[in-house]
């Protein structure tokens, strides 16, 4: 599964994208978030306030704790500021 990071999340994590093999116990979005935060202090800090993080699953906004079955691409990013 591909994970994308944009804007300050990208610069803070020092990473624009990564490809991960999901451990078997990670079934839903919340599981993935816990998995990422458990990596190190940088990830934990970046995802400490989920109010300032938006999530897209296969390029569609999600706000629920969706299943990751069959998902190809997840993106984490700050609220958008285009226009």
């Amino acid at each position: 599964m591909k994970i994308l990071y944009f804007a300050w999340l990208r610069t803070q994590l020092g990473m624009a994208e990564e490809v991960i093999e999901l451990p078997e116990n990670i079934l839903k979005l919340e599981d993935l978030l816990e998995h990422l935060k458990a990596r190190n202090a940088v990830f934990e800090a970046a995802f400490s306030d989920m109010k300032v993080i938006r999530i897209a699953v296969d390029q569609e906004y999600v706000t629920d704790n969706v299943s990751l079955e069959g998902v190809q691409e997840i993106a984490f990013f700050p609220p958008v500021t285009g226009g």
């Binding site: 994308l4 944009f6 804007a7 300050w8 990208r10 897209a56 390029q59 569609e60 906004y61 993106a75 990013f77 700050p78 609220p79 958008v80 500021t81 285009g82 226009g83």
Partner: protein, 149 residues
């Protein structure tokens, strides 16, 4: 039509392209967003716009489809740039064409309000002091988008 590009665009040429040879159009509204010298911070010198290739196009298509469904439009156009832009450069263009001016005005305002809150673009401001700053979400933009719900 939606276009996501790094190149500059010409507002006048785009308006002309949309209206030429269509004699049912009575009203054309355009909105152009420009890099201005103050935003979250003062002394903005340039902006770099990051986007999410793939999702950006999908979101703009959805927003345009909503507008075409809600208002009586002959045609519409959204151009949004990414990459680095200097002061005074155009970032975004929305053009709506209709037989009636109220449809053209409302649809253009809606497209901008939704684009501001839904299209995955992020602005990095570069100030004259050399510092960089990710622009923050504005509550006024969220409120503006809510009024169309």
């Amino acid at each position: 039509m939606i276009i996501v590009q790094d190149a500059a665009f010409d507002t006048g040429a785009e308006i002309k392209r949309l209206t030429d040879n269509n004699t049912q159009i009575g009203a054309v509204v355009s909105f152009t967003g420009l890099v201005r010298d103050f935003n979250d911070g003062a002394n903005v010198q340039s902006l770099t716009l990051e986007h999410y290739p793939g999702m950006t196009e999908k979101e703009l298509e959805k927003i345009e489809a909503l507008a075409l469904n809600k208002w009586d439009l002959t045609d519409s156009l959204i151009i949004h740039r990414y990459g680095k832009m200097e002061l005074g450069e155009a970032i975004v263009l929305v053009v709506t064409a209709s037989a009636h001016r109220s449809d053209a005005f409302e649809a253009a305002a809606f497209l901008m309000d939704w684009l501001k809150t839904k299209a995955p673009f992020w602005k990095l401001e570069e100030n004259s002091s050399g510092s960089e700053n990710w622009v923050k979400e504005r509550s006024s933009d969220i409120d503006a988008a809510k009024k169309w719900d």
